[in-house]
Symmetry: C2
Subunit: 415 residues, 2 copies
Amino acid sequence: MSQVPDLAAVKAMDDADPLRSMRNQFSLPEGVIYLDGNSLGPASPAVFNELAKAAREEWGEGLIRSWNSAGWFDLPVELGDRIGRLIGATPGQTVVCDTTSINIYKALHAAMGLRRGRSVIVAEGSSFPTDLYMAEGVISTQPDARLLLEGVDAPTIEELIDDRVAVVLVNHVNYKTGELRDMAALTQRAHEAGALVVWDLCHSAGALVVDLDGARVDFAVGCTYKYLNGGPGSPAFIYVAQRHQAEARQPLSGWWGHARPFAFEPRFDADAGIRKFQCGTQPVLSLRALKAALDIWDTVDMAAVREKSLALTDIFIRLVEAKCAPFGLALESPRGGAKRGSQVSFTHDHAYEIVQALIARGVIGDFRSPAIMRFGFAPLYLRYLDVWQAVEILEEALRTEVWKDERFAARAAVT
Amino acid sequence: MSQVPDLAAVKAMDDADPLRSMRNQFSLPEGVIYLDGNSLGPASPAVFNELAKAAREEWGEGLIRSWNSAGWFDLPVELGDRIGRLIGATPGQTVVCDTTSINIYKALHAAMGLRRGRSVIVAEGSSFPTDLYMAEGVISTQPDARLLLEGVDAPTIEELIDDRVAVVLVNHVNYKTGELRDMAALTQRAHEAGALVVWDLCHSAGALVVDLDGARVDFAVGCTYKYLNGGPGSPAFIYVAQRHQAEARQPLSGWWGHARPFAFEPRFDADAGIRKFQCGTQPVLSLRALKAALDIWDTVDMAAVREKSLALTDIFIRLVEAKCAPFGLALESPRGGAKRGSQVSFTHDHAYEIVQALIARGVIGDFRSPAIMRFGFAPLYLRYLDVWQAVEILEEALRTEVWKDERFAARAAVT
């Protein structure tokens, strides 16, 4: 699209949208334009119903028997395979369990174990911080290991990759800027130096075409509560390429990772497959909500999702730049779609206050320190008309300077 | 009680039970006598309602805003303090997060960090296995460390405790036999040798009087889905004594353990208090079910729970031994109440088949390899009459040898 669309053009895009009927499956509050699905995806009536069923029938009536009869015990691998389809992973390589942070720890330990004699973890200074914190945690248990950061120890991550590097830990889409990394190229670069890669898919799973197997990725992790809409804090996933599973070891060797968990043997004997990356008993109610949320995804073509995502973000950028030009906004995200995830960030000196003023008007995005307004675009439930209206409301907030109202100035503990 | 009670005596005990009204708060299936609350506690209508509210209102309507407005972010410490009241922990020392296995890993690492120069972890050969598996995991990251086991390396755990020992990892109540350890005495013995202790409360929290602060315990972990009735796989808890919090370090240093998680700083700086034992984003729907389940506990006197628990298990033992004497059962649990948790185990050569036959008749207990029939007694919802009827059904199953029916012979994957 080379021009700024008008309202008629926007409505025509909705009419022609092959994903438009998906919106009906979600429960979105009246009067809200939700541009924060990259932080917490919305709910759906089907999820509410399944969650109630899991509670009343499976837990309430089935009680302990439901570990077998309702398939609770196998949910992590069942849901892992279903997510696998969305991220280019054939079955048996993905399992849903624990948190993204915990899974990063497992993946980094496993990768370093597969590259003994190498002591360096490379990551991004601009990474979502928990990735770096977990790398610090891994290093705290390995006296010779150290962490080198893009933007601190060298300008680009590629310059840090040499034969000392055991593993490269990298975000597929940057959480602040929305910048997208070339998964295949960076993975190949790491492999050429003999290193392994751990990709963090938190901001790409469910929003982009991801091809882990095709890119020969070694490990990946990600969350399920953003674009996948699994519910607040729903368990994360970890992908381990089939070729590494036999040899890979991870120290969170709990009973769900045992080859025979119900034999209650005193010594740990890891499962031969992806189950070895499980640890302890998982939160079934949260898993059951995620299972219901994934029902929506089973019919979705990720190429269509990516196409619509690019169109939504492209139009948003064009409209904001056309209508809000006088008000001091600067685009922080890549202008070219090939380098952009499914979110758009603008900087502004008063980004925090503007985001609060928008939320008060029903346009929910979020603020990221120090001066970023971040807007996520989830193609399953957002209309092009939502983008149009969000920009109208943004323009009005900037033009009227309503954000200067003191009630938008106080910073909440969690943003 | 020195005699075997008759039915009238049993009914009189129910009439006099100060906890009898608590049963009304639970949702128990028709025709079920539930003696497996030591594995998965039952549901309650209030929990169903709260879970639906959390899903529909907090997630569905509040969306991302509920991290603040519904208090999601603070649930781990809020619920930790409420569990703390039940285990003798003053506020600020208990946090709900992750799984028991993960929390064992954190506690062992922290304890070993506080006892540098000591390399031994002592545990029980009869421990619930995940405790040992996690100790193996910790040791796998510490080349000089090793694990010594009661029953393998010495007959008693006390004999293993010397000045090489960094930490003693021990179950308060044995998961198979129900044997209860003396927390104060063993903790004191460890401290005299300069070691720290990690108590696993999975089979005692919500069933016994636990006094962590009074016993000068260093660390404790436990699950919330057994006697606390938090729902299948609800998140676990970890207790860290106030006196260790400033110095303790654990390597699962995720963003929820950061002093300023929403400042998104590139370097980890641990929270000064119990929050440093958190790691990643928690499963909110499961936490909200647990929160509702804890509402029941807020008014409960643990001394009354323990008193009824002892009476229930005592009567069960007496009735089984009186009525089932000819059928080859042998008591595996301690006969004296002072050494017994809230469960009773009997061995039988055909324990597996008998347990299956009982389940088919509505008496739900469980089997533990190789030959244990395990029955848990949760004082909040069990009546003395339930105990009477369960023994009647057990006696009939043994007398008629219905367990020889082939449909009770096949072993399920999960028991």
